[in-house]
């Protein structure tokens, strides 16, 4: 790569091609010093050459004929490819990515600024602008014209062989691509000629198709095949693909000779396309079974995952270990950003050890609780009692040993009950978590860091039994233990209290405030965010970090009669909804502190740190309302993420 630089380095502005190119005077000036390095960069590898061509805009794009390519580029991908990713409408994706709301946020990030200020990016950007100037168009319009027919990235692999990477770009018109290629070749050759160097481009013919590569890096290459730009990590791969295209006769409307060998005809891919819509921005399919066989060290998950993964995601982890493929799609419109991920379940279904993670057929999470001011509401189906029973199979011996100790402690905490059968067994598998805004204006004293309130709503199998009382006692024990710790640390203790909310007793605790002179000197502290509270509403037990949220949840559960009725039917195993606007409000309340932390963590000045925080706030607002759900269906598990995008600030 280093020699490539010496081969092509030099001031391209001296080459006659660039001097006589189209474009404004200022654009040509841009070509001056910047292009010196640009040409060097072009020569650094055929990938950059190809990306340069990929980014080249062309004149006359408006009156070009329809593309000579037909069908999907996935016709050219082998049926057993391990990965295939398609961007059906790159022009729309470019519009989304260059949305001012996205760019505003991105430009506030140091990583983005660093990337666009990096030498490589600046050089590539200058190449694109120089060629755009020659061809009288803008870089983004040119990019849309060049990629308008779609982009496919595919990886094909065989055991003990280098994987074959293909990037297939379909332009709106073949002439667009041809002219872009000619422009870049002219630039590179002109630069070399200006320096008295030989032609840096190696071109070979294969069955009538020209394959281009950089002479000092002839391995990777690109070709224009039937009106499409194909880039690959090896020129021999290009020959393979050309053979495939010519022998299958998929181009120019001919019937394919071996339809079964095409990725486009695979049932999983067809199903993915059928489920999608015209708004799909990206769709991808990965063959996990082949990846695990080809490179077990990299792609085969270990037998027993970490404790955290086991607790939260074990069923999905097991699925990932065994699913033959994974399909994903992203949809991105003006008003919505959505993603879906699907993993098929093998014939044997879920393993017995993950029984506690997956709801039986027809069951699922309880409905989300969303009192006023909700930032996020989460609902999870999880049978902890069953998981506890399977702990020896699920966890490593060391963790199981720790759980045995925890069993003893937790049993004592709950009045001598057995933790698994009597505590977890007394709870239904419906768990809900609510995160909510707090009214900081009414808090005395207001905390220094303003945190949201959160609460867990658990469901009891037998609300009339003594278990509810045991939970209340456990809450009081928790407050007592907190006070012992506070006494040892000379910190403020919690004072127990209670209040009636719609006929329900809300047990409360609040930090005792200092009196007299100590009160005058009191500094705001984080702990004043918390006033732990607990209540029972029918079969639901609420444990909240604040009195305010405790009250809201009582009203919500009473008002909707969800506290005593059957939970709303759902097939989801997990669901969460979040609202960006109240989240942004919380972040805004902590804006100064977040900016200060950004100053320290990223070394930014105050001005830039504040701009980053403001960018984050705008981005959170832009994301609007989000929902994530996971459904464990009989045949497959499906994850869906959806944001209803907001109009802006």
């Amino acid at each position: 790569m280093g020699r490539a630089g010496s081969t092509w380095s030099g001031d391209v502005s001296r080459s006659p091609e660039v001097r006589t190119g189209a474009g404004t005077r200022s654009q040509r000036r841009l070509a001056g010093g910047a292009v010196t390095g640009i040409a060097r960069r072009i020569a650094l590898g055929i990938w950059v050459l190809a990306i340069g061509a990929f980014a080249c805009p062309l004149t006359g794009a408006a009156d070009v004929k329809a593309t000579s390519t037909s069908g999907s580029a996935t016709d050219w991908v082998a049926a057993d490819a391990v990965l295939c990713l398609e961007v059906p409408h790159p022009d729309r994706l470019i519009d989304r990515l260059t949305d001012p709301r996205i760019l505003d946020y991105a430009s506030s990030l140091a990583q983005y600024r660093n990337a666009v200020q990096s030498k490589n990016f600046r050089e590539l950007s200058s190449v694109v602008k120089v060629i755009a100037a020659q061809l009288d168009t803008t870089w983004d319009q040119g990019l849309k014209d060049l990629t308008g027919g779609g982009i496919v990235l595919a990886v094909e692999a065989e055991k003990a062989q280098e994987p074959r990477f293909y990037l297939i770009i379909s332009p709106k018109n073949e002439a667009v691509l041809q002219r872009a290629n000619q422009a870049l070749l002219k630039l590179a050759r002109g630069d070399a000629a200006g320096k008295g160097k030989p032609d840096p481009v190696k071109s070979t013919e294969h069955r009538g198709v020209t394959i281009f590569a950089a002479k000092d890096n002839p391995v990777a290459g690109y070709a224009i095949v039937r009106g499409r730009l194909v880039v690959s990590n090896a020129t021999k791969n290009l020959s393979t693909l050309i053979d495939r295209v010519i022998s299958s006769g998929t181009a120019k409307g001919a019937r394919p000779a071996t339809p079964a060998a095409k990725f486009a005809d695979c049932a999983e891919w067809k199903a993915l396309r059928a489920k999608g819509s015209d708004d799909d921005a990206v769709r991808a399919l990965a063959r996990l079974d082949r990846l695990r066989k080809l490179d077990p060290a990299r792609f085969a998950p270990k037998d027993k995952p970490d404790t955290g993964i086991t607790l939260l995601f074990r069923s999905w982890y097991e699925l990932l270990k065994r699913a033959p493929w994974m399909a994903a799609s992203i949809r991105w419109t003006e008003s919505e950003l959505a993603a879906a991920l699907e993993l098929p379940l093998g014939k044997e279904g879920h393993l017995a050890i993950v029984k506690g993670y997956v709801p039986p057929a027809g069951e699922g999470t309880a409905s989300l609780i969303q009192p006023p001011g909700t930032i996020a509401s989460l609902s999870l189906w999880r049978d902890w009692a069953t998981i506890w029973e399977s702990r020896l199979d699920l966890f490593s011996p060391e963790v199981a040993q720790n759980l045995a100790q925890f069993d003893t402690f937790a049993g004592q905490f709950f009045g001598g009950r057995e933790f698994g059968a009597d505590v977890l067994g007394a709870l239904a598998p419906h768990w809900r978590l609510v995160i909510s805004q707090q009214d900081f204006d009414t808090m005395k004293p207001p905390p220094d860091v303003k945190l949201p309130a959160f609460a867990i709503v658990a469901e009891m199998d037998d609300p009339e039994g003594d278990f509810a009382q045991k939970l209340k006692t456990a809450y009081q024990t928790f407050v007592g233990l907190t006070n012992i710790d506070a006494t040892q640390k000379n910190a403020a203790p919690l004072e127990l209290g209670s209040e009636e909310v719609e006929g329900i007793t809300l047990a409360t605790a609040r930090y005792v405030l200092p009196q007299g002179a100590a009160a005058e000197n009191m500094t705001p502290q984080r702990r004043y965010n918390f006033s732990p509270s607990a209540a029972q509403v029918g079969k639901y037990f609420i444990l909240s970090s604040s009195r305010g949220l405790g009250r809201s949840l009582i009203k919500e559960l009473k008002g909707k009669k969800a506290g005593t009725g059957q939970a709303a039917a759902s097939r989801s195993t997990f669901a969460v909804e979040a609202d960006g606007r109240p989240l942004a409000r919380i972040l805004e309340l902590n804006r100064d502190r977040l900016a200060m932390q950004t100053m320290l963590e990223r070394g930014e000045t105050k001005e830039k740190a504040e701009a980053q925080v403001d960018g984050l706030l705008a981005f959170v607002r832009y994301l609007g309302h989000g929902r994530l759900s996971v459904d464990d269906r009989p045949g497959a598990s499906r994850l869906e993420l959806k944001f209803q995008l907001s109009g802006g600030k």
């Binding site: 280093g2 630089g5 140091a110 660093n114 030498k119 220094d448 000379n490 100590a518 000197n521 500094t523 502290q525 984080r526 100064d592 502190r593 200060m596 932390q597 100053m599 320290l600 963590e601 990223r602 070394g603 930014e604 000045t605 105050k606 001005e607 830039k608």
Partner: protein, 468 residues
């Protein structure tokens, strides 16, 4: 590293006279860089160039007064206000590394490097450690106190530090009862803070401790409990009276040894840590200090303006502390847009042997040769590599040496090498030692960027660069 005997050390009158540039004794780049290494944390090329052009008097005046703008471009007062606010908000629940990060951030961008340098000096003088105080807000409060009086009045600083909760916790003096006077603070205030050994007796400590009775720290606040104060007569350093705690600093400051003790410490910090000054050399400095009623700026200004300070014989007679090395490198190389992650820098300083706000003992860091050992040198090299790295997300990716050189019109490879030699080490290298730097910068088998980075790395890891 033994200092040669020069006229400067033997002739106090000449030594403390104001330096004036002449044809034989120029105020050139090495002199300006020396001034900033000692009185700040090294300076950028633009600052050095400006000071060389303006002369020593203007350069010293600017250091004593502070710049109108911080390195982040904000007005000085606004920057100080932002930093005070950051310290107040973040220190409440901060870990030691966070506190260190706040201070290092301040050092990097400060418009008043001399004040931060003096804050560091007083931190080492009144050495107090978070390891025992265990309160980030109290450590930060002490740091703020040291900064407020860093170039102010030592009398005021001494009185305030005696009531500083962090100091009293550090010296086990949070409950000083008349029935059982605690002698720790009384001992340290004489031995380490004002007089030095040999200028007091054990009896003086015991009597002073009685004067401090009634001083308590309750709920992180200093409080005088009158009923616990010993109201009897005490004799401290020959002065008898019904002394209270506030009377002791005045008695100590009247001792001739006090100003001499402090001026010797300033001498070690600003002039040389290898050659102890003679009493005769210190006497004029101490006299001026006393006569100004202990205005700290007086001896500091006198030192910075002196013939002795600018004598080439005293250059590089100190080993840079890790903080000087780290902050100085960052300021000189203008790694400020953005700067490094300062918590990572704090950790690097710990690895180099200096954990800010956690000195090893009540006597602070020994400094000098103590900073240099194989582990610490490896840590210094690693910091230099980190700063020059394009992968290290916390410390690297911010410095583009070739770009920095180009900013000052040093564009050719050999020009770049000379630029960094002049910026970072000036005349420290023998001609032969400069050759590998130039060779690295002009190496033909590597690209411009890599060659420049290699050259800067060689300078930063050279023994000469470790000296101030």
């Amino acid at each position: 590293m033994k200092d040669p005997k020069t006229r400067a050390f033997d002739d106090p009158a000449w030594a403390w006279s104001a330096f004036e540039a002449s044809s034989g004794r120029r105020f050139d780049l090495p002199a300006a860089a020396h001034l900033h290494r000692r009185a700040g944390f090294a300076a950028s090329w633009s600052v050095l160039s400006r000071d060389v052009a303006d002369g020593p008097a203007a350069a010293v005046d600017r250091l004593l007064a502070g710049a109108p703008q911080s390195l982040d471009g904000s007005p000085a007062a606004e920057f100080e206000s932002t930093m005070d606010s950051m310290a107040a908000q973040l220190a409440t629940s901060a870990a030691l590394t966070d506190l260190q990060a706040i201070w290092l951030y301040r050092m990097i961008f400060t418009p008043h490097p001399l004040r931060e340098r003096m804050t560091l000096f007083w931190h080492n003088h009144f050495a107090t450690s978070m390891s025992k105080v265990q309160s980030a807000s109290l450590m930060q409060r002490q740091n703020d106190l040291l900064r407020t009086d860093a170039l102010g009045n030592f009398r005021q600083l001494l009185r305030a530090i005696g009531k500083d909760p962090a100091m009293l916790i550090w010296l086990d003096s949070t409950s000083n009862r008349k029935a059982k006077p605690n002698e720790n603070y009384a001992r340290e205030v004489m031995e380490l803070f004002t007089l030095g050994r040999g200028h007091y007796h054990e009896k003086d400590i015991q009597e002073a401790a009685r004067a401090f009775t009634g001083w308590f720290v309750i709920k992180d606040r200093f409080k005088e409990v009158v009923r616990q104060h010993d109201e009897g007569t005490k004799t401290v350093l020959g002065k008898t009276g019904k002394w209270e705690g506030d009377d002791v600093p005045a008695i100590l400051l009247k001792q001739p040894a006090c100003a001499e003790f402090l001026c010797k410490k300033l001498f070690r910090s600003f002039i040389s840590e290898t050659q102890p000054p003679s009493d005769a050399l210190i006497a004029p400095l101490a006299r001026a200090f006393r006569e100004s009623d202990y205005q700290i700026k007086v001896p500091v200004g006198m030192i910075l303006r002196s013939n002795l300070f600018f004598d080439p014989a005293v250059r590089r007679r100190r080993v840079k502390s890790p903080v000087e090395f780290a902050v100085g490198t960052i300021r000189a190389l203008e790694v400020t847009n953005p700067t490094v992650q300062t918590s990572a820098l704090a950790e690097a300083c710990v690895r180099m042997g200096q954990s800010l706000l956690a000195p090893p003992s009540v006597a602070g860091w020994q400094g000098g040769a103590e900073w240099i050992n194989s582990t610490a040198m490896l840590a210094r090299d690693n910091l230099a590599l980190g700063l020059l790295s394009q992968q290290d997300q916390a410390l690297g990716q911010r410095l583009d040496p070739a770009n920095l050189a180009a900013k000052y019109k040093f564009t050719g490879r050999d020009q770049r090498a000379r630029f960094f030699l002049d910026l970072l080490v000036q005349d420290a290298f023998e001609p032969k030692a400069r050759e590998p730097i130039v060779q690295a910068a002009t190496a033909k088998n590597v690209d411009d960027d890599t060659a420049t980075r290699n050259a800067v790395r060689l300078i930063l890891t050279a023994p000469e660069y470790q000296l101030a």
